[in-house]
Symmetry: C2
Subunit: 394 residues, 2 copies
Amino acid sequence: MRQKSQLCINEFNPDDVLEAVKTVIGPMPASLHEPIFKGNEWHYVKDCIDQGFVSSVGSYVKQFESEIAKYTGAKYAIATVNGTAALHLALILAGVKPGDEVLAPSLTFVATGNAISYIGATPHFVDSCEVNFGIDVGVLRLYLEQNTVIKNGHCFNKKTGCVIRAIVPMHVFGHPCNIAEIIKLAEEFKLVVVEDAAESLGSFYMGKHTGTFGLLGIFSFNGNKTITTGGGGVIVTDDDHIAERAKYLSETAKQPHNFSYIHNEIGFNYRMPNLNAALGCAQLECLPSFLKSKRALFHSYQKAFSGMDFVTIVREPPSCWSNYWLQTMLLNEKVASYQENIIKNFLNAGILVRPVWRPLHLLPSFASVPSAPLPVTTKLAQRLINIPSSAGLI
Amino acid sequence: MRQKSQLCINEFNPDDVLEAVKTVIGPMPASLHEPIFKGNEWHYVKDCIDQGFVSSVGSYVKQFESEIAKYTGAKYAIATVNGTAALHLALILAGVKPGDEVLAPSLTFVATGNAISYIGATPHFVDSCEVNFGIDVGVLRLYLEQNTVIKNGHCFNKKTGCVIRAIVPMHVFGHPCNIAEIIKLAEEFKLVVVEDAAESLGSFYMGKHTGTFGLLGIFSFNGNKTITTGGGGVIVTDDDHIAERAKYLSETAKQPHNFSYIHNEIGFNYRMPNLNAALGCAQLECLPSFLKSKRALFHSYQKAFSGMDFVTIVREPPSCWSNYWLQTMLLNEKVASYQENIIKNFLNAGILVRPVWRPLHLLPSFASVPSAPLPVTTKLAQRLINIPSSAGLI
């Protein structure tokens, strides 16, 4: 293979990309990510219905929480109705207030920005890194040094005068970002870390599970995730007080009392129903085998693309263990303009692929929020394509 | 039976109340409200798991929405993750903005007040009626005439200067409030009506289903409701544009596009998962039989309490057909002070009962919001006790 700098775009044939994927998953139509239900899903869900406890009370919620805590190594896990609810509540528990700014990547699913907005706070976008697609810590340090000032133990945006209260690193497509360095930076700049690990159950950074580095972390169990509860999420934390408040606020802030309905603050209906937790308990049992298949799928894709000059399959960052939630093609900058053509080629063949999300700073809702320069984010948005990633494909 | 005014409190024995309930439900422990799963619940849920569509995509959500619309007579039904989410979204769609006031009963579940607060609006409490426990329209009319002014087609609170944008009538325990009169009043005072019909699936006012009088109505399918989806809710409306926006906003405001992720405004993750909708479809099939049983249970309670001087069983208001979701004892004012004793008596016998919710104006979160005088609410809070109400009790 020649040096990438010597590549000539005339040699690129978008059809080759489709063919390479087909050598791995076959010629039949394929979806982007499908769940697999071949474990105890029926058994547990039926038990849940037979017991009559399908809603907010029931043993599967506790079991799911306890198993998530055990698997991730977090002290506590609090199940929620979905990942967005988990992130909204986690940000509240992190102390984010109306008028605050929260540092977040622009290269993320819209829920990250929405959850910040629900509080009346504002996302403040920062650039991403070419290797792991998460927040670029080096670039962020320079940006914060120039644009913020620490006063009374808080970080202030010099331009807006607002407190920058927290930072929400996100592990994109399941690949761990440089979370250890982000934690150090956050300590220095007085930022609370809420880890958006929605996509990274089963992903580890230096042997420690993603989502457990920040004061709080959240996961999603939407139907397209590595394991699913239909709809669901979880907050993890090692902090006793925060864990207690997470449960309390997710259950309408109802005071413990054997008959009276007393709520001492504005709470939320963010509980995960027991029916969904039952599905989750069965899915968790299968997680190791799903992860094994997804890793094998990565290796197959990697092999299929090994001779390709213009497209690489994204691999886990150094010192990380990725769940390979969504397999991803990274286009060479020279062929970035083919992104849409390539996607349409796949869709015409019945194979579902998608570009990375449109970066949040390009959406109307977030067009005027504070932002660092985002050159890498803007380029990555044109270069990333997710391809079929189901554990059942291999 | 003597005139109630001649009653002597010395003749009241709280034990008689417990005994009367036991003649209906037997001496064994009983919960307040339990779901029944004896229809197609397992069949549909298994089908849903077998199909692999447990999450936001799937046929059961559409079926559930279509059947709710048909049953209630609403043009559209949009399924949500729970009743609180439905109410929050319905208020946004009703045009409620931060800083607005929303008229609501104080005698309601805390979700009514919370949903208003999520928007940054403020509940403005109004008094309830002794007959149906919903908003007292006559009293409210006098209050609005004295305390509000209509300017540029909007109702303003003379004291706070804020717009009173909407009114949220609630059908307490499933008994229809005087919704037709509330609709008239709302038109006169330029208020949008969002009906909190969380508890009243199967309840009709003059032959028209509750929840379908307002511009929007919402229902809950929490585990304690007449039918359950584990956790779930629905918005109903006859308005084409609102229905379309309800679906759009509940699905993260994602623009229809075959591959790009474009969100043109702040949306929510408020979809009902297909797994929960599958349960709901089966439960809906059983709704007629549940309603029949609950009505029979009411008649049995009514008979058991017919000789009692100090306690009556609440019956459906005139011209209404109630789902009798929660059976309720109304204590004579003279024995209201026994409310807690009576409750404890039941709990000691293993029979779960509860007082009506603590009125919202007595909760710290809502202690300083605008409020009309609430003399009836305050008294009713001391006089109402819900007793075992499951359809399976008879």
